[in-house]
Assembly symmetry: C2
DNA sequence: ATGAAAGCGCTAACAG
DNA sequence: CTGTTAGCGCTTTCAT
């Protein structure tokens, strides 16, 4: 849009367009003399030359642009982090990304892919908004799957998902290390990959310690109400667990309110650990919630970097299946269990009252 | 990428590329005969022709792409909605958007604008992540400001911001209509546009009702801890307010815990209303929080639609300053004040205890 | 009503 | 070492 073209730069420097092009792209080794190169550079600087990438793309066939097709971004507050990771990774390597959210509609997915093709994107990232198994789209260009994977890898596409198992393991390990031996897991009934894998990781860690015991309580839903529901059951158990691991931070939030109503205190009487490290929630609870975070930003970045790797270097491995573990963010909701094992307000009082 | 070019379609249909181009874009009125037009369309369909937008852009000078430069997306969970609104609006009109987040760095902003220019974007949206006053960038193309505005409109750019005043007014009005007359406003000390305007709207509404009274309590911070801080003061007031309006949902969350600790119940003993309608927080609190929502999605969409309007129709008004009001989302945290005005657990017990 | 030709700005062969 | 030539695929005068 600046309007100054390569031809003008070449004229100003007194060389041909070809030479100017080579010099400015740093491909003039053994071509332009130092003198010529210098003239080109100053001419470009003087005129404020900026290459027209549209023209370059038309000629070279590469746009340095990737399309990101997301299934349904509206359903989760973590989507933003994933997209941000993707954008940033692209930007850092001089690439850009087009994002289209299909809102769950297959028809839009098809149109989006056609749209990407028309704009000559070099590759595609297909993103789900929570960990699941999908069939990879086949748009006739390299594809990377983000927060989802193929049931059985076809060997054609790479994918990155969160390491849910490690998350569950980490949470349990943290509680065990603090000395907890009787640990409740507040789960939710919805059947999905994350729920199952987190539970597996949790159980794996507990099985590590001989005298440790895992108790599972299942609620209908993974929201705060579900957390209340499961926590009421957990408090009724005898002896009462000294720590609870919640499937989501929202469930932990519900658990908090039940615990408060029972006259118990966190972490003095009972420790709580959540999952998701949900911004503005985990850190806002009183006391702030210890939680396992899923590496959404990193996953977004990984997907784009992987894609660019194969795009820029055609014999970079095309089918890596990666699981990325997230950190445990320790806050104030976990402490060692009381030495005495005081029973506090006892379980029978743990009724809801609304 | 399909590889089918216009020339091939033309050949297949037995016409010239020019004719094919005109026909396929629907500009062949009074040009191609019905027969020719039909041949072109079937040829295109048979070959699966898709126009190469890169080539079209190079020739026509327009890319149907806009650049969205955001100051710092990481700082808020609402950013995602705004960007989604922008993307969707663009998609619905056949446009795409490049997003770059500058992370607050001016140097990146400059580079982003250059990058957009090189890719020939047709216009720019400049977005802040919370309502503020800025100086508009001048990239040599039409600009729309999103969630920010110029101190004094230069007449060159349009802008859209949330109607904070209306939000404060709506919240207060809702409480007044339920019969509340003594209403606390839990504010936070950080000085910014949103805080000031919401307070003004709130006070305006209260001033509407002769015997109504507004009490303001200011905390250091707009998070849950700040909410606790301000709520403790509010409960100490005598007579105790029957309703509180919180500057943010997070503050409301803090207020909830103080209220519970004081042995009071929401909404029976005291009504609470928040601001932001923060997903996974407002709806997850117990009881669910009534809150005023800011129309982030709509603002994102407005900005892009406005920009495309002036891009597609050059005499569309170029400098509209718009404020968009958001809805009040009524949940269960508000009820009419108690007829008797029962004092419940009295104010002196409202101490924190951690 | 239609085709020929020029050219958007750049890159990549090919000559010299 | 450097310049010339030929397009990438499309749109748009300008002839016919």
């Amino acid at each position: 849009v600046t309007g100054v073209t390569l031809k003008q730069v070449a004229a100003e420097a007194g060389v041909s367009a070809a030479t100017a092009s080579l010099v400015l792209r740093g491909l003039a080794t053994g071509r332009a003399s130092d003198d010529v190169a210098a003239r080109v550079h100053t001419a470009a600087a003087d005129l404020g030359y900026q290459p027209n990438l549209t023209a370059r793309s038309l000629r070279s066939g590469a746009t340095m642009t990737i399309g990101l097709l997301s299934d349904d971004v509206a359903t989760t507050p973590f989507a933003g982090r994933m997209l941000a990771g993707a954008q940033d990774a692209a930007w850092n390597r001089g690439w850009m990304v087009y994002i289209v959210d299909a809102g769950g509609k297959d028809e839009i997915k098809d149109r989006a892919i056609r749209s990407f093709q028309q704009r000559n994107v070099d590759g595609l990232v297909y993103a789900e908004m929570y960990h699941q198994i999908v069939e990879a789209p086949k748009p006739g260009m390299p594809v990377v799957l983000l927060d989802c994977r193929e049931a059985v890898p076809t060997g054609a596409v790479s994918s990155v998902v969160p390491d849910e198992t490690a998350g569950g393991y980490t949470a349990a390990k943290f509680l065990l290390d603090q000395g907890h031996r009787r640990i409740a897991y507040l789960a939710a009934g919805d059947n999905n990959v994350a729920r199952v894998l987190r539970a597996q990781g949790f159980e794996l860690a507990v099985a590590t310690v001989p005298d440790a015991e895992a108790l599972t309580f299942i609620a209908g839903n993974s929201d705060a109400a579900g957390g209340r529901e499961a926590m009421v059951q957990a408090l009724a158990a005898s002896p009462r667990p000294t720590a609870v691991f919640c499937y989501t931070d929202r469930m932990a939030m519900g658990a908090y309110s039940v615990i408060a109503e029972a006259g118990l205190r966190i972490p003095d009487d009972i420790s709580v650990i959540g999952f998701d490290n949900q911004p503005f929630l985990a850190d806002a609870l009183v006391p702030p919630l210890t939680s396992v975070e899923l590496p959404h930003y990193e996953m977004g970045a990984w997907a784009v970097n992987k894609l660019i790797d194969v795009l820029e270097d055609s014999d970079s491995p095309r089918h890596e299946q990666v699981r990325l573990a997230g950190p445990l963010v320790a806050r104030e909701s976990v402490a060692p269990p009381r030495p005495g094992g005081r029973e506090g307000a006892h379980a029978a009082s743990a009724r809801t009252r609304r």
